[in-house]
């Protein structure tokens, strides 16, 4: 074989060795259910970051005269802080398919469960995301219930519609 061929073969082999040695970042694949591996909570570069419920604008506008008055919301833990027990949704993890929002369960200060959630993208790029998102919703058939009720939540009704509503009946009953 001509010498050029031998050189080409050597270079190609070298290139292949380097290629095979190149490893992509080993983000733990999000498997359905248990995954205790690395998760960075609340990456600030997340494109669909959670509006932090803790910063209820009302509290900002009025430094609370009664700090205990405002209902407390669970804050998404900032990167680097100790993990508070409970379930935190909104953390964003970089997976090989892009950023995925996850629901992280924390017990004993450690992450015990990571579940990936679907993002409302206009196109699911990778089938694996839809594979690993656990069913989020429980459901049952719609019926009408009659049970002791104090008040009704519904789509906003006008004053006229109010008169026909159950809420008005409740209000009347309260007034006598």
């Amino acid at each position: 074989m001509p010498k050029r061929g031998a050189v080409a073969l050597a270079l190609t082999t070298l290139a292949l060795v380097l290629l095979f040695a190149f490893k992509t970042p080993d983000v733990a694949p999000i498997a359905a259910g248990r995954n205790t591996a690395l998760v960075q909570p609340a990456a600030s570069s997340a494109p669909a970051a959670t509006p932090k419920p803790a910063t209820v604008p009302v509290s900002e506008a009025r430094p609370a005269a009664n700090p205990s008055a405002a209902p407390v919301a669970t804050a998404a833990p900032a990167a680097g802080t100790a993990l508070a027990n409970g379930m935190d949704t909104g953390s964003v993890v970089q997976t090989r398919f892009g950023p995925v929002q996850v629901q992280v369960t924390i017990a004993g200060g450690k992450i015990t469960d990571v579940t990936a959630l679907q993002l409302p993208n206009d196109r699911q790029r990778s089938a694996e995301i839809s594979q690993i998102a656990e069913p989020m919703l429980r459901s049952e058939a719609l019926t009408a219930q009659s049970a002791q009720i104090d008040l009704i939540s519904g789509a906003t009704y006008t004053s006229d519609a109010y008169a026909q509503s159950l809420q008005s009946a409740l209000d009347q009953a309260a007034h006598g």
């Binding site: 074989m1 001509p2 050029r4 061929g5 080409a8 190609t12 290139a15 290629l19 095979f20 190149f22 992509t24 970042p25 494109p47 970089q94 090989r96 892009g98 993208n121 206009d122 196109r123 699911q124 790029r125 990778s126 089938a127 694996e128 839809s130 594979q131």
Partner: protein, 456 residues
Amino acid sequence: MQRASRPARVPLPRLWPVRASDIVALLVANGALIVAMWIRHGGADHLTSPAAILTAAGQITALLGTYLALIQLVLMSRSPWLDQVFGMDRLAWAHRWLGFATVWLIAGHAVLTTVGWSLGDGRSVLDEATNLLGTYPFVLMSAAGLACFLAVAVTSVRAARRRLSYETWFGIHLYAYLGIALGFAHQLVVGTDFIGDPVARLYWISLFVMTAAMILVFRFGQPIATTLRHQTRIGSVVTEAPGVVSVYVTGRDLDRLAARSGQYFNLRILNRDGWWRAHPFSLSAAPNGRSLRFTVKDLGDWTARIQALAPGTRVALEGPYGTLTGARRTRQRVLLVAGGIGITPLRALMESLPARPGDLTLIYRASNESEVVFREELDALAAYRGASVHYLVGRRGSREMPGNPLDVAGLRALVPDVRDRDVYLCGPFRLMESVRASLKALAVPASQVHLERFAY
């Protein structure tokens, strides 16, 4: 010099019950299956934004481009079915055109996917490319595969091929194998159609496995088996004419080696210089069970190496290939038209084609007398078999040969009943095209015209 003698019986290569339409239908159906798989996986859904459209286009080009690449390998796998149905020359022609289509599709896939994802992620194309190459497994590898394809495509453009030596071009072309291999892993691991669907994954893998099997069996296995079994070696080398060399190959059990007159083998000289490349050699005599005679014309400096071959040198045989055989016969009478070195397979046919006296006519066109080979053998064969031989020697436009001796009038004069004959053509491209046109003008049905191109 070989005397005209009745050839011993050698087994004929098997004819398979396959037609061109079968093969084309299979390939098209497979392609349709791939598209259907993509659609079923939701590939054509939600095409509502440029990002989605580009990403979808990136997927379908990937699937079809890879499929074409596998077909490319199959075309060159030396499969006897494909050779029988299409002939190696047509397969090589298809390989050339499909090759460019393949590379366009695969390069298109890379561009469309990167741009589509960058739009979807709101990143710059460069950032997205870096993201794809750096964080997705095996994508960098597949990019190297794409580079291999591009190198092959660029060097196969006619302008480039002319500037490159055959060795260089061929060496680069081999990187196509590497390109396909490097792209395989990312298809399974990142390809949307295969991640979640084990059946689709199995199907895809099986396509690769079948292609690899065909290459292994027909391109490597069969030649190795033939060579080992028959222990083929160079018997002797004879110079027939300036630049024309006959090589006698001897070996063991050659009466069991199936071959037809009109076919050719790829010979690979197993010495230090020649082992890496095989050359096509036509059988110039009917196989007689004791040796195989191949005759070639000077096509480069390697002819000198052939002439210097020592008897006993081991040689590997690949083949037989070729469709210019008695298997194509449809008529009782036959016309053989040879141009220049195209005489080689026709010389073998003349020896073994079954024909009654008067059924066989040979027209041998050569530019000058020194180009005519086997004249004595041809004359002896003609006498023995009751065949006519017409030597048309001279340059067109010269005083001796003012016009084209093989135009419509010339052919009709030489062979008045040409419309009732099978015509076997072999020679330089221009000659064959010109004769084919004359035959068409003479209303010879295309099914009766058989030709094989040497150069493609």
